[in-house]
Point group: C2
Chain length 275, copies 2
Amino acid sequence: MSPSASSESENGSYAKSKLNSVNRYRGRGQYEYQQVYPIFDETPVVHVAFQTSPDQDNFGFPVILPMLGCTGIFGQEDVTEDEDDGRRYIYLHGYVSARIMRLSKAGTNDEPSGIPVCVSATLMDGIVLALTPNHHSCNYRSAVAFGHAQVVEDEAERLYAMELITNNLVPERWQHTRYPNKTELKSTGILRVEIHSASAKVRTGSTGEAKEDIADEEMRRNVWAGVVPTRTVYGTPMPAPTNLFPGVPGYLEDWIRERNETSLQYTLDAGAASK
Amino acid sequence: MSPSASSESENGSYAKSKLNSVNRYRGRGQYEYQQVYPIFDETPVVHVAFQTSPDQDNFGFPVILPMLGCTGIFGQEDVTEDEDDGRRYIYLHGYVSARIMRLSKAGTNDEPSGIPVCVSATLMDGIVLALTPNHHSCNYRSAVAFGHAQVVEDEAERLYAMELITNNLVPERWQHTRYPNKTELKSTGILRVEIHSASAKVRTGSTGEAKEDIADEEMRRNVWAGVVPTRTVYGTPMPAPTNLFPGVPGYLEDWIRERNETSLQYTLDAGAASK
């Protein structure tokens, strides 16, 4: 929507700048939309930081809130859902009373840019145990986005985002629930982050060792080196005491199975990848 | 160490203030050290936010870095390891070249307070699927700490923190690896966050439904309601191509088994807890 934002991008990727550039292990940096967005969407919880004013209450500390959210493209008429390389927003779900919602609201009309935030998403894929602690690492996919957050006021966009976030948590969930009433719709706050800059950082592979360590076979026989794959597992659904639905719905069962298989396979591939 | 910090605490807990108070769902707020610290220590990755200066490069965005770290008590002579209710620091592991390390270093002597940061840790324990999307929620344990981060220069404290962080990732790992040499020890940056204020927020239980929804049995027969327990699983260790250690060491195998059993049990208890 904002020309200033899209001027930062080129060819389906975010332009590198001091803000989003990966400096340590440059090879792990990724800037294409399709490398960045799936990380935000796969992480159930993202972390959102904003700066408080340095008054007596907040002492100028930044604040991080864990929030539910995902990427979306509402209102970008030149981009269709099929064009997967389109530039997106990040939509966040919260409560209208929450601090970040109040702050974002402050500048809606005269300063449409909202408040500057950082959104971070991290998927932990493995613990990399090298021969010496200082070469220990993790396999991970992490993404970071810098942008301005605004409270969404438009009813159509709010509804779009609620459905998007619900179905990002559990696919097809929205259409299998009771449709929310007016009061419920009003009580849910939606933030839209217009992404100014973003990047991803990904590590895969087994241990990276120093030459001297590889030469030391005696030591290598005494220290186990390798990867402990790590993943989020969705378990067996536990019906609520009030549940009357017989069994577990197919869309839920299928998603849990596929999701668990996909992440298991990813972490095994990541742990076996060549360094 | 700093009297100003400890004056904020009382009886093994953090004093409530505007900064750390849980406002939405107050009942979920926790302020005791022993409610807050385990969440930081159980999360393999914490998220650390700091504020950039509003120059041409950073545009005043806050920055979030995913980092390895945990709580520790080095140098607090009045607290022993056995006194589990003692006030702690958060130690973070990074690279000396990283941006936050450079920023934290700026004020080491004249301004020993370092830079203000927020450290956030979130454990996702379940997706709570209510009858209507707006009552959806998550079971989680999240903690947030506000404090000043400083680069640790003292060699003894640096070593303490490296061992602490390594063994927090995998218990007993430090003593089962090759001891780092001088160059390796120097290349690892350690940040200490002196916690000014902190709190935790925890949700357990099944769905919370509106009275009108409970009364609507027809709808309840059509919408599945309940909890999908969610946990981090540590998988089967994958030896590195260079590994010469026979099999998998006991400390690693035992930890993975115990850790997976504990988190499975926690998420099942959380999903079954009464609201």
